[in-house]
Amino acid sequence: MTFEFTAEQVLELAPDSAAAKAGRDLSTPGKWKNLGKSADGLAIWGQCQGSGSSPYQTRADLNGPAFKCSCPSRKFPCKHSLALMMLYVAQGELFGQAEIPSWVADWLATRGSKAKRKDDVERTPEQLEELLQSKDKRKQDRLSKIQAGIEELELFVIDLMRQGIGSVKKQPFAFWKNRAARLVDAQAPGLARLVSECAEICARTSDWENALIDKLSTINLICRTFLKIDQLSPELKADVLTAIGINQSQEELLAGAGHSVDDFWLVVGQYNYTQDRLRVQKSWLWGKKGQSALVLSFAHGNAPFDVMLIAGIFYQAELVFYQGSLKQRALIKTKNSEPAMAPYLEGSSVSLALNSYAEALAKTPWLDTMPLLLQKVIPHKTKDGKWWLIDQEKAGLPLFARDEVGWQLTSYSGGEPLSLFGEWDGTTLKPLSAFKNGNYLKLQTVEV
C-alpha cells in the first residue's frame, strides 16, 4: 500500500513556518540512517542525528498520519517527523521494506491500545442512573440560565430598535463585548459569539447597517426559537441548542445517538483559524455518495490537532453526524487513508446550488455557511474588480476572494471549466479548493 501525499500536504501539517522550513532542510538522505517501512506500507521510520549524542528515533503511521519522535521538541509534528515524511514523499525508494524495529512496534501497539482504552470505562446500572440524573439536573439548570440570558438579550435588542442601530456605530468595542460576556455567564457561548461579531460589523466602513440588521435578525431568530423549545421537533431542538452553544456529547453520539455514514470521504476544503486562543481546524469532507460533512479539530498552542486530516486526500471512514436538521457537523468514528484515489466528485450548477441553499435555510434559518461544490465553472474578474464564478448556463456566483486567489484560480482553470468547492454565506462564496482533470488544488485562505 502506498500513500500519495504531496510535499505541500505534508507541510500543511507543520505547526508553524519555522518547523516547516527546518523539516524541509532536514529532508535530505545524508541526515538520516536506518530508514525503513513496514511490509504493509503503513509505518515508516528513521534515525536522524540531531544535537544530542544519540540519533533521534522518528516514526510515522501513515494511516492517520500520526508521528512520534524521541527529540525534546514541544512542537508537533516536530521537524524530524516532517522531514521523515518529506523524505518519504520525495524519495520513497530510500525506505526499504524491513522488519519493524521494537521502538516502532511498541509505539504502534500503544496507539492501538490507547484507542481501545477510551471504551473501557464500565459502570454499574445504579451508577449509570445516578449519572443520568445529575446530568439531567445540570442540563435543566443550564437551560434556565440560558433562558434568563436570552430574555435579557431580547430587551437589549428591543432597546436597539427603539434607539436605532445608527446610534451604536460610535459605541466602543466594549459595548458589544460586555454584552457577549453576559451571555458567556449565561452559558450561551454560541450567542455570545454572534454578539461579538456585531462589534466587528460596526467597525466596517461600508454596508455595515445591512450586515448588522442581518446579524441581529439571526440572534432574534435563535432567541425566539429557543423560547419555544418545548414545541420543536428533535432536529430543530438540536439545531437551536447547537446555535446557542450547547455541545452534544461526543460519547453519546459515537455510542449510537448520531446518524452514521460509511463512505469514501475527500477532504475537500480545509483552513485554520484562532478562536479564543484556541486553534481550530475546519475540514469539509465530501462523500462519494454526495453527503458533505464538517469536522472540527481543536488544539491549544503548539499542540497537535485532535483529528489529523490532510486536504485533498480520500479517507475511507465512518462518520457520525451531530443531531440536527442538516446533518452537517460530524465526528470521525473510524478512518483509513484511501491510497492513490483521484480527487473527483460530482458538483452542481450555480442555480441548483442556490436552490439547495434555500432549502437548507428553510430547515435551519440561522444557517451560517453552507458548503457548495460547483461543477464546470470558470472564474472571471469583472471590470469593477469583483470576482465571479460562471457556470455553463452563464449563471454567476460572486466570490469572496483576494486578487491573489482569484488569479491563481483563473490560471489553474486556463479559461476551461473546473470544479470548485467553497463556503457560501448567502452573499459570497469563499473558495477553498478547485479540481481539474483529477487534480486537487487547495486555495489559500486568510486566517479569520
Binding site: 504531496t6 510535499a7 505541500e8 513556518s17 516547516a20 522550513k21 524541509r24 532542510d25 535530505t28 545524508g30 544535537s51 514523499v89 520525495a90 435588542v157 428591543i158 432597546d159 430598535m161 427603539r162 434607539q163 436605532g164 442601530i165 445608527g166 446610534s167 447597517e209 440588521i213 442581518d214 441581529l216 435578525s217 439571526t218 432574534n220 431568530l221 450555480v350 442555480s351 442556490l354 441553499y357 434555500a358 435555510l361 428553510a362 470558470i378 472571471h380 474578474k381 465571479w388 460562471i390 452563464k394 449563471a395 454567476g396 456566483l397 460572486p398 491573489e404 488569479w407 491563481q408 483563473t410 490560471s411 489553474y412 486556463g414 479559461g415 476551461e416 448567502g426 452573499t427 488544488l441
Partner: protein, 537 residues
C-alpha cells in the same frame, strides 16, 4: 408626484433611526413576503418587537432568494501547453524559496530563483499553471528576468497578460524598449527608475543619453549628479570629454571627483595629460630608486581636477595629506607612462618604487589604484610580489576587484597552499587573508576554483581551526551563492561540529552548506545532464 418608498427600505430606515424617531408604519406590499411582513406587523406587540421580527423575515428571504448573476461574455481559453510541468520536487523547492526563505536576503532570493528559472528553461519545462500568477507577481519589477519568466510560464504567460492589465503593463512595455518611454522615465520617474532609464539609453543611444543628461545636469542634486556620472563612466567614449571637463567646474567635490575618475579612464584625455604633467614634477628616478617630491599645496587647478583633501582610498595612518594628494594624481596616470619615461619594464618600475623605503607604501598604493584602472603589465607585476599585502588597503582591494575572473582565481589558488600550510593551528591569522580575497570574487566561481576552496574549508573544519574570522561569517551565504553547483557534492564532508565553542563559525558553516544544498537540490530536481554543469556558471 412623490414616488412610494420600497417598504423594505422603510423598515431598514426605521431600524437605523430607531422607533423613537421614526415610528413603525404599516407595510403594504404584495407577494408572499409582503403578506408575511404585514401579518407579523398586525400582532399586538410593542412596535420594536414587530420591527425586529419583520427585519428577520426580510433577512431570511433575502438570503433564500439570492438570484445568480447573468453573464453574456465569452471567455477565451488558454492555448494548450507544449512543455511538461516541472517535477513536484522542483516545484516544492521553488515554493520553499518563495515562502519559507522569503525573509532571507534579497540577493539570495533573487539568485536562487533566477537559477531555478534558468534550470527550468534549460530542461524545457514549465511552471504548473496554478503558480504562474505568484511568479508573475514576484518578477514584475525585475525587468532582466522577464524573458526567462515568460518562457517558464508557458502559454499561460501571454494568456494571463491579456487578462491582467497590471502584469501587461509591467511585462510588455519593458520587453520592447521604446526610446520615448525611456526619455519620459528619465524626465519624470523616481531616481532608481531614472538611473535605469539612463543606463538603457546610454547602451542603446549613447549620444542622446549624454545630451539628455547635459540638459538636466545643473538642476540635479549632487548625489544624483555623482550617480549619473558613475553610470556614464561604465561605458565612456571620447565625445564625453567636453561634458566631463565642464563638470569639473561643479561646486561639489564629490561630483568633481567622479568626473575626474571618468576622465581619467578616457585614454589621452586632457585631464590625464594634466595629471601626467603633475606626476612628472613629483617623480624622478635616482640610483634605480624612484624619488618623490610631494605637492606643496592643493591649488585651485588640482581641486578643479577632482583632487580632494583626503581620499578615503588612501586613508592610512602612515600617509600624510600631501602624500594622499600625490596618490590621487598618480592613480590617474597609466603606469606605462613611467615605464616609458624611466625606460623600465613594469617589474623594474615596481622594484624601483619599493626600493625607496620612505615612499614604498605611497607608491605601491598609487600603482595598485592605477593598475586597477588601466590594467597592463603593472597589474601582473603587483600580483607577483609576495611581499605586498594587497588586502591591507582599499587600493589593493580595488585592484583585486578589477581583475578578470581567471586571473583572480589563479592568484588565490596560487596563494592557497601557503594559507593551508600555516604551521600553528592555533593562529588563524594567516588564513584569514583568504576570506578577504574571496570577498572580492563577486562573480560566479569556476568549477575548479570551487572544488579547491571547498577542499580548503573541509580541511579547516576538520582540523578545528579555532577562528574562521568575521569576513567569513558575514560572507558565508554569499560564498555559497557564488560557488559552482558542484559544491553540493562536497559540502557533506564539512565538519560542522556541534560541540565547537565557536557558535559563529558553526552558524556560518551551516548557512553556507544549507544554501549550497538548496541550490544543489534544485539542480538535481531537474535531473539535468552534465553538460549543464559545465555551463551552469
Amino acid at each position: 408626484m412623490r414616488q412610494a418608498k420600497n417598504p423594505f427600505h422603510e423598515l431598514t430606515e426605521t431600524a437605523i433611526l430607531g422607533t423613537d424617531r421614526k415610528p413603525l408604519s404599516a407595510i403594504l406590499s404584495g407577494g408572499d413576503l409582503g403578506c408575511t411582513i404585514a401579518a407579523l406587523g398586525e400582532r399586538e406587540l410593542p412596535q420594536e418587537r414587530l420591527l425586529i421580527d419583520q427585519l428577520t423575515a426580510i433577512s431570511i428571504a433575502k438570503k433564500a432568494g439570492v438570484m445568480p448573476g447573468s453573464f453574456t461574455c465569452e471567455l477565451r481559453a488558454c492555448p494548450p501547453e507544449t512543455r511538461q510541468k516541472v517535477s513536484e520536487r522542483s516545484l516544492s523547492l521553488l515554493i520553499q524559496v518563495l515562502t519559507l526563505e522569503a525573509k532571507s536576503s534579497e540577493l539570495k532570493h533573487f539568485k536562487i530563483i533566477s537559477e531555478w528559472l534558468a534550470l527550468c528553461e534549460h530542461a524545457q519545462q514549465r511552471m504548473p499553471e496554478e503558480f504562474v500568477p505568484r511568479l508573475l507577481d514576484w518578477g514584475k519589477s525585475l525587468t532582466e528576468m522577464h524573458q526567462l519568466i515568460g518562457l517558464c510560464c508557458g502559454q499561460h504567460f501571454d494568456w494571463l497578460l491579456s487578462l491582467n492589465e497590471e502584469w501587461r503593463a509591467n511585462y510588455t512595455s519593458k520587453q520592447s524598449i521604446d526610446k520615448q518611454v525611456l526619455i519620459q522615465t528619465f524626465e519624470t520617474g523616481e531616481q532608481r527608475e531614472r538611473l535605469q532609464a539612463f543606463a538603457s539609453m546610454r547602451t542603446l543611444w549613447p549620444e542622446e543619453a549624454l545630451t539628455l543628461l547635459s540638459n538636466s545636469f545643473e538642476k540635479e542634486s549632487f548625489e544624483n549628479k555623482a550617480a549619473f556620472l558613475k553610470v556614464l563612466s561604465k561605458k565612456l567614449q571620447f565625445s564625453d570629454e567636453p561634458f566631463l571637463e565642464d563638470t569639473l567646474k561643479d561646486r561639489r567635490k564629490e561630483v568633481r571627483a567622479q568626473a575626474a575618475t571618468a576622465l581619467g579612464l578616457i585614454p589621452g584625455s586632457r585631464l590625464q595629460q594634466r595629471m601626467i604633467a603633475r606626476a612628472d614634477l613629483y617623480l624622478s628616478l635616482e640610483n634605480n630608486k624612484i624619488a618623490v617630491q610631494l605637492p606643496e599645496e592643493l591649488d585651485d587647478s588640482m581641486l578643479r581636477d577632482g583632487i580632494v583633501d583626503s581620499s578615503p582610498m588612501y586613508l592610512d595612518s602612515r600617509i600624510g595629506a600631501k602624500a594622499n594628494w600625490l596618490c590621487q594624481i598618480l592613480s590617474l596616470v597609466p603606469p606605462s607612462h613611467f615605464e616609458q619615461k624611466f625606460g623600465l619594464n613594469a617589474s623594474e618600475l615596481l622594484e624601483a618604487a619599493l626600493a625607496n623605503s620612505e615612499w614604498s607604501l605611497v607608491l605601491s598604493l598609487a600603482f595598485m589604484a592605477a593598475a586597477a584602472k588601466f590594467g597592463g603589465e603593472m597589474q601582473q607585476a603587483l600580483l607577483q610580489r609576495e611581499d605586498l599585502n594587497i588586502t591591507d588597503s582599499q587600493a589593493g582591494l580595488t585592484l583585486l576587484k578589477a581583475l578578470p575572473q581567471e586571473t583572480l582565481e589563479n592568484l588565490i589558488l596560487r596563494k592557497l597552499p601557503s594559507w593551508s600550510q600555516a604551521r600553528d593551528n592555533t593562529k588563524a591569522a594567516p588564513r584569514l587573508d583568504l576570506w578577504y580575497y574571496l570577498e572580492q570574487v563577486d562573480f560566479n566561481w569556476s568549477e575548479r576554483f570551487t572544488r579547491e576552496i571547498i577542499k580548503f574549508i573541509i580541511k579547516e573544519s576538520r582540523e578545528k581551526v579555532p577562528v574562521f574570522g568575521h569576513t567569513f561569517y558575514s560572507n558565508a551565504s554569499n560564498f555559497a551563492l557564488r560557488m559552482h553547483i558542484v559544491a553540493g557534492e562536497l559540502t557533506d564532508q564539512i565538519n560542522i561540529d556541534a560541540d565547537t565553542a565557536d557558535i559563529y563559525r558553526r552558524n556560518a558553516l551551516e548557512r553556507m552548506t544549507d544554501t549550497v544544498k538548496l541550490r544543489y537540490d534544485i539542480f538535481q530536481s531537474f535531473n539535468n545532464t552534465a553538460d549543464y554543469t559545465a555551463n551552469a556558471n
